[in-house]
Amino acid sequence: MEIKKLIQKTENYTIVKLPKIICGEVIFANKDTEVERLEYDGNVIVEIPKLTQQDVDRINANREKLCDLSLGRVTDYLINAGRKMLEPEDENKKAAIELGSLVAGYSEPMFQSDFHIIGKFCARRSNCYDMLEAEFGTHRVLDDFVNKGVGKIRAFPRGRVLHIMVGNVPLTSMFSAIRSILTKNQTIMKIPSRDPITCIFFALNLLQANPETHPINKSITAFYTSRDSDLLKQIKESSDMICAWGKGRALEEIKKTIPHSIPYLEFGPKRSLAIIYSDDVHINLESAALKMAHDLCVYDQEACFSPQRLFIKGEFQGAFLERLKYYLDKVSESLPKGKTSMDAQSYMYRIKQEAKYRGWKVSEGAAWNIIECDPYSDIEHPLGRTLFVHRFSELSDIIPFVDDETQVASVYPYEKAQEVANTLGRFGINRICELGMVVSPRAGWSHDGMYSLHYFVRLAHCDQSANFENHTWDLEYSVKYHHEIYGKPRIENFGELILDKHQYDWNKRDL
């Protein structure tokens, strides 16, 4: 998709004209089309054709089942998309990065990084299989019934999955879509106003990377509509599962509108922290400072896994912070800070003034702030690469700052990770990782304390027969068991009947 065809420059505005995608069809606005207009800082406007009743009817009429598509073909579909994303000169990706930065405000290297992460994930088949192995025990469960206990299970897709996306971390919307494609669902994306670019271009990438007739193409839909729209309500009611991302209040509103019996998976707001033992024998201050700088800078600290506080132990705090400042400047060169709104700038200024009034030590760089204070100080976090630094002496000092809304504790040196996990895990923390790895969870990770692929499937269970014998069940036991639960009936050949081994001539039945 050539970027110049999507951008129109007027005297005062830059207008980005996005398509909507309905059941795999890419629909641009023509002169008669009503469009949604979303306005952004810097006089940027995004126009996208409005969702119509006809679109909703078309989505609802699409009942093509994907469950018989083999996992091999599904992962081929994702591999094609991943490889296309990794091509350095791919026009679609270049447009997504440039427009994403223009609209959503993150720097281009930040978008580039996300497309790289998702491209790499999709392009290597083993990543999908590893994820399925971790969450279901075996990937085979998506293609066939597999033995499980005294029976067999198969993971059938829920059907039509509505994703209500969020725009603060571009890769989350792509990953959300991957989850439903991998589990053979129809993928309906309600794109976020904060970043309408990533979802649309990811969907375009899927369609362009694969043959036009690929059955998954028809299952891909991406549109923008307001949260309160009647059309979105209709889609919610006709979805078989809803996966919503976002702020707490937005999720509460969504939850109120979901009919019963529709599974609902939410990824709500979370907070994260970092823990550094600066005097541990394994410590390498340079490494720790670089890793801390990276974790602080990604997504300008607007992700749930972005550390907002650093708890540091040991006598080398001062030395560490000096190196951290150095690496914050370095990482800010490679991952420049994105556009900052007047609100965010103001928030930052207010917090710094407040910190000064309260006598805290404030260090400021061009794109970051470090504030050293008592962890119990009541203050709002301004985000925007601001780190609140607190000293601790025992791990238990950190417990009051952890609950089940704490997503990640990133730890350095990694040798301390298990101790942190043992201590803080029981107080609600969801993930413990090595410093510098917040954005790169290892295979098998549980997202917000869940294996969320389970929400995307219906696990059908095919029981074994009463005659099936194993270590807890033999035929003699089966007869006794059934005799008991049938109320001890006085039937002479009860056992034979239960085991289906009696002699019976159907033609001589007593009518």
């Binding site: 969020v166 603060n168 971390v169 904060r194 991302w245 976002g246 702020k247 707490g248 209040r249 990824f267 709500g268 707001p269 979370k270 907070r271 997504y299 600290q301 607007e302 992700a303 749930c304 972005s306 907002q308 506080r309 709104s341 007047m342 609100d343 965010a344 700038q345 103001s346 928030y347 930052m348 200024y349 207010r350 917090i351 003034q353 407040e354 000064k356 009034y357 309260r358 006598g359 962890p375 119990y376 100080s377 009541d378 203050i379 709002e380 976090h381 301004p382 985000l383 609140f388 417990i399 009051p400 700052f401 952890v402 609950d403 089940d404 809304e405 704490t406 107080f427 609600g428």
Partner: protein, 404 residues
Amino acid sequence: MKIHTNSPHEDFSKLHDTIMELHVSLDEYYNDEKAYNTMKQTLILDSFKYHYVSNSEYREFCKKEGIGDDLSNISLQKIPLLPSSLFKRQKTRLLSVHENEIIKHCLSSGTLGNVSVVPRDDNTLSNLISSISALFPDFLDVERAGNQKGFVLGPNTEDAGDLWFSYVISCISLLMETSCVEIDGKIDFKQTAQDIKKEMMAGKDVTIIGPPFLILELCETIREDPHWPEFPSASHVLSAGGWKNRQRESINADLFRQAVSESFRMKNDSPVRDMYNMVELNSVIPECEYHQKHIPPWMEVLVRNPQDNQVLDDNEPGIISFLDSSSFSYPCFILSEDIGYVQTSYCKCGKKGKIVNVIRRMNNIEARGCALKMASGKEQATSSAGRFYQSWFRNVHIAKKEAK
């Protein structure tokens, strides 16, 4: 310690008297730009010097901002500002008077989380009350104790307790016979509409004051009455306090005025006025008949660039800051959470001086992404403090405090 203030009110005892005298002759200052600017400059600088001398915490803060003990050449632009959020911090000391001089700890409604607590002494509170008594007749052109009946869509002053917004709107009872129609937290809109109609039919002028969402609810009731009389000429509907937690119902100022003027059967929308105030500010900023918010001569409004805190020119949007000389108990030099711009241009109403235009409230960080804010608000404490997993974030400290 020797502090050079070069102040005409060197012992500061006359500052309060000057402000009270100013209330009596407001008209003179609104009509004379030079006098307006001179008075503003003098009062605010004196107020700054007073707080610098009286408040050691504020003085330390000023020093960090590069202001030494020689205050003789300080300008208004250089006065260090307190972010309004500081009033939400329980352990932060902001007092310029002794603790036992505080007569009211005024509370915000806490729409966006934690509640602001603003300590006011007798002088500070009397300045506010006196300013309301002076500004309302001047802007609304109503005679004190004239043919007016007031209706407050809120509780009376006693029931309002420490809740600042309710307290301020109930102060209209200083000017006219007033009914406060909120009883036990509820308003009977049908009864209120009937009472207003009765007064109007009896030939009285009415002044109705309340938050915009309650005014709109009253309008809905009024529209059901096909025999609603024409709105009397010296009557007003005053909105104040913003949309609070009913932001989703908010409509812009033009639409609001249109809805209210049509419902009340006004000839035009000039009787619909908005009054600006916040708990951290010790003055109300009234709106004239041309819907411009004029800054009183004891206050300055400077709009600042959030990146570098530089003062912006007229019509350039930024963060609104206030310098209010009418507070004695705390430095009322406030960096607000509102975005807007100022104008010094001529207003058709004839008043001189500055006009402030508030565009909107700043978005908080939760509007950005899925990072949950670090310290929780009261709202979160009440909604989640009882859950199994608890932390300091969930304001166990606040919950415990409230339980005590």
